[in-house]
Structures are given as C-alpha cells and as structure tokens.
C-alpha cells in the first residue's frame, strides 16, 4: 500500500531532515520503496518548510504527496496550511506546545517534542523526538531502521543525545498506541 507522509514546520526546525531520515530508514533499512521530496519555496529563505515521503511495497511512480495519510506538524503555520489536505481518516501528529488545533480533527497524536528536547538540553533535537514519536505511533518504520538512519545523519559527538531524543519520543509513541 502507498502511504503518504508530510512533515511541516518552519525553517531551522530540521523538517527537511525528518523527511530524509524517514524515507531513508524505510528504503535502506526496512527494504521498502520510499521516495523523499523536499518542498522548495521560491528561494530557500527562512519561513515555512515542509517535506514529503511516500512509502510503498510496490514501485512508486508518482513521487509527490498530494493527500497525506499522516501529517506531522511542528508549527501553527504548517498546521493551517496542510491540515486541509490530510486524508479524511488520516493521522495528525503535532507538537502540542506549538500547534493549537482549530476544529474537531480526526485521529490526533500529540507530544511536547520541543519541550522534551529542551529538557534534554538541546532544542534542536525536537525533530528527532518527534521522529521517535512518529515511529512509535505509526509503526510504519521499524525502530531499528529509524535509529540507524538518525545516527548516520548526525555528527558523532551528538549521537548519544540524538539517540536519547529518539527513544524518548518513541516510548511516548508506543504509549500513545497502547492507549
């Protein structure tokens, strides 16, 4: 089955990296087919950022995300921009401190990813916390795979921190699942 995932937030949050890691984990370590496409504005200046991942057991022809099955947002702007294209029965994942839900959504999973990251001492690993959460919640990707993909994306000296961030997020994801 073809699964479409969209990540959204603003520049500096590492949104592009989230898409890249997710798709790489699926493709390289889980042996599925996966395509990642970053979203480019007129120029790569600050502002809104988003990235797209398609995962499938079959060949992926059309590579873009048009109606995401899963929408992961880390800013109010991204939420407002992309929520309308989320599939009717799609899953919304948000950083609960950064996004205020507007109208009755369907399935929603929340985590204070940025706050958790700050607690870990590095605000910039919020995206990794979120990736862990996403993995736990959706089970789309094996934990092993995402972990490998995360670790090879970060400089050696930040490996431990990132692993912790990922795990924290992942555990909350599992919990959410079990709820």
């Amino acid at each position: 089955m073809r699964i479409e995932i969209k990540f959204g937030g603003f520049g500096g949050q590492g949104i592009i990296l989230m898409g890249n890691i997710t798709a790489r984990a699926a493709a390289i370590y889980d042996g599925k087919n996966a395509v990642f496409t970053p979203s480019y504005g007129p120029e790569a200046r600050g502002g809104a950022a988003s990235s797209n991942v398609v995962i499938s057991e079959e060949e992926i022809d059309y590579p873009y995300v048009t109606n995401p099955d899963i929408l992961v947002v880390m800013s109010q702007g991204a939420y407002e921009k992309f929520a309308p294209i989320l599939k009717d029965d799609g899953l919304l994942i948000i950083d609960e401190d950064l996004v205020k839900l507007k109208n009755g959504e369907g399935k929603v999973a929340k985590i204070p990813a940025t706050r958790i990251a700050e607690e870990l001492g590095k605000r910039i690993v919020a995206n990794i916390v979120m990736l862990g959460f996403f993995t736990g919640v959706t089970k789309l990707i094996s934990y092993d795979a995402i972990k490998k993909a995360v670790l090879e994306s970060v400089p050696a000296r930040f490996r431990e921190l990132n692993e912790e961030a990922l795990e924290k997020g992942y555990r909350q994801g599992i919990e959410w699942q079990e709820e």
């Binding site: 493709a27 996966a34 970053p38 480019y40 992926i60």
Partner: protein, 379 residues
C-alpha cells in the same frame, strides 16, 4: 567489491555516476535546481584526485570543461535553463572540435528566470538546436535517481565514444527527489575511454575518421594538434573558404550521430504489447504516465507507455514503424509541445495528441488517465 545501496537525490546520484565514469574535472556555476551537483563535486572530486572549480559564469564553465577534456580529463558541468542558454556557443565549439564532455541540465520552469525552484521540461528542443549552425549532440533523460546515476555514466561513455558533448536532460523533480540507488560493483560497470592515435605524430591526421569518429590526441602527448572552431580539414587546419571542406566536415559531424541513431536508441516500453494508444513521455512525466497506464489498464484500456531515455537523436524510424500498429499517441510533457512535434513528424498530426503542462508542477496520474480516456474514446 560488491554492490552498495544508497539513498540519493537525483542530483547526488548524477554526481556519483560521473565520478564512477571517471570524471576528474568539474567546472560549474551555481544555479537552482542543479547546484547540489556542483556542491557534491566540490566535496568529492578532491577525494579522488580530481579538480573542482567554480567559474565566473556558465560561458567560462563550458569553455573550461572543453579545455580540460583536451587536457586529457573526462569533464563535466551542470546547470539549469538560464545557464544552459549561456553555454550554447561553446557547446557548438565542443561539437565542432569533437570534444568529449558531459553537460547536465536540471530543467526548471522557464522561459527566462521563470520558476527557479520548480520543475520544467521545456529545454528539449534547445538541447538540440540551441547553438548556431548544423550540429548534433546526444541527449539522455533519466526518470529516477537510479537512472541519474546510470545515464550519467552512459553519457560519459557516449561522449568518449562519439567525441561529442552529451547532454543529460534531467528535471527539477528527478534532481531533487531522493530514492534508493544501487551502485553495482566496479567491475560490473562498463567504462569507455577515448580512442587514442596509434600512429606517430607525423602520420597523425587529427580530423580524419574511418568510422565517423577520429582518434583524439590531447595536450602534452606530443602530437602538436591544432584545434579550431573554424571549418577545418582533416589535418585540423582552418579552411574557412572551401565549401567542400565544410560539406565533408559538417556532414560527418551530423551523420556520426544521425546514422547511429539505432545504436543510440534507448526506449523503455511498458505495457506496449497489445497497446492501441501509446503514451510518449520521459523524465519525471514518465513516472506520472506510468501510474496513469496502470490505472487505465486496470480499467481495461489498452494503453502502453513509450519512455524515451535517449531523446536526441530522436528515434524517427522507431516511431514511423509504430505508426502502423498504434492508433493514437499521447505525448505527456512539461512544456507546450516539444517532443510532440517530433512524434507528429513521424506518425502524423491526426494521430498525435498532447497533454502539456507549462511547468511548476508535474502531471497527476489522474489527469493523464482522463486524457487517455478522452483520446481512447475518440474525441
């Protein structure tokens, strides 16, 4: 050595392909959406002993890779529409002096500055006709990061074999999309090297060709070659007022590509066995087209896809023959009808249909499917 599996964007895959093919010189000028190729080459070339230089513009970049090729290196540049326009004069020099080199054009939406970060496929005709005078180049079009890798290697091989600039006509979508790329073991990859003269310098005729393509002596090899963009004889000397020399030279330059069209042909046929309608497409558009064909087949339409991997020389003969079997051709491309003109020339206007896009987005499989239905049902 065994194969490796990487997760690359098309741009990175093309750069890696170039390195595998033996590229050891890159001169370029940044331009979205091709810049990652230059950036990756800046990082990687020194690691393999090659030279990266960022030139002052695209004119200089193109001239530099020609110079480097005569210096003995396999050389390449990468750009997008506006830069490609600026390279045309020296692509012509490359064709005239038969200089092997590779030019990647990661197409964005034009004309002019257009939409720098978004997809287009409207430099197809320019790739063939952008420089003045009669000449021929080879152009290839990959539709995935894997093919960016494979076809860039092929581009280098063809450049060396035919002594001609080879254009890799990518598009922004393919260039920026990340996907699995399989890197085969080294010994499984065919690499072509340029033919060197086998005679001593006194006997060497730099522009005499038995079989269309002359042997090439580079700088410092002792052959004292003179190379000029003027009309030249087999010795390489200017003969700029002799129409017979011109006739012989220009015919050879063109015919070495035209007459080898069949060898250069590279087409993927998908579901074509019993097809009544054929989609003709390439690059990213071919991915949407493939999805559309699947859709249509599920609903019983006898539709297939002809995907052009070699765009130039255009496979006239192939289409001419097909015209007897296929009822209708639908060209799906992100431009206002370019390959469509070529198809039309071969199969006739009444059989040719166009589903264009002006750029900035790719076709949705749905749109193509609707067009198939419409054409299939004959209106």
């Amino acid at each position: 050595m065994k194969k490796q599996i990487k997760f690359y964007s098309g741009n990175i895959a093309a750069a890696e392909g170039a390195l595998v093919a033996g590229c050891r010189f890159f001169a370029g000028y940044p331009i979205t959406p091709s810049s990652e190729i230059a950036e990756h080459m800046a990082l990687r070339l020194p690691q393999v002993g090659g030279v990266f230089i960022q030139m002052e513009d695209e004119l200089a970049s193109m001239a530099a890779i020609l110079g480097a090729s005569w210096g003995g290196a396999k050389s390449m540049t990468a750009t997008s529409g506006p830069g490609f326009s600026l390279m045309q004069e020296n692509i012509g020099l490359g064709a005239m002096t038969e200089t092997p080199c590779v030019v990647i054009n990661v197409q964005r939406a034009g004309p002019s500055t257009g939409m720098p970060t978004l997809v287009g496929q409207a430099d197809i005709m320019q790739a063939r006709w952008g420089s003045h005078g009669d000449y021929e180049i080879i152009a290839l079009s990959p539709f995935s990061p894997q093919e960016c890798f494979d076809l860039t290697i092929k581009a280098f091989n063809l450049a060396e074999e035919y002594r001609v600039p080879v254009i890799v006509l990518m598009d922004e979508s393919v260039g920026h999309m990340f996907e699995k790329v399989v890197i085969p073991p080294k010994d499984k990859i065919k690499i072509v090297e340029r033919k060197k003269p086998t005679v001593p310098p006194e006997k060497y005729m730099p522009y005499k060709a038995e079989d269309f393509v002359p042997e090439m002596a580079c700088a410092g090899e002792g052959y004292n070659v003179h190379v000029t963009g003027l009309t030249h004889d087999e010795k390489g000397y200017p003969q700029a007022t002799d129409p017979e020399v011109q006739d012989r030279l220009v015919r050879r330059l063109c015919d070495k590509i035209r007459k080898n069209e069949k060898k250069l042909r590279d087409i993927e046929e998908y579901e074509m066995d019993d097809a009544e309608v054929a989609i003709v497409s390439f690059g990213i558009s071919a991915r949407s087209s493939k999805a559309a064909v699947r859709l249509a087949r599920q609903r019983g339409y006898k539709v297939g896809l002809i995907r052009l991997k070699t765009i130039w020389p255009f496979p006239d003969e192939y289409f001419e023959k097909l015209a007897d079997e296929i009822k209708k051709f639908v060209v799906v491309e992100i431009n206002y009808g370019q390959i469509k003109l070529e198809v039309e020339r071969n199969v006739g206007r009444d059989k040719t249909f166009l589903l264009p896009k002006m750029g900035g987005e790719i076709h949705k499989p749905d749109e193509i499917y609707r067009k198939i239905k419409e054409v299939y049902n004959g209106n």
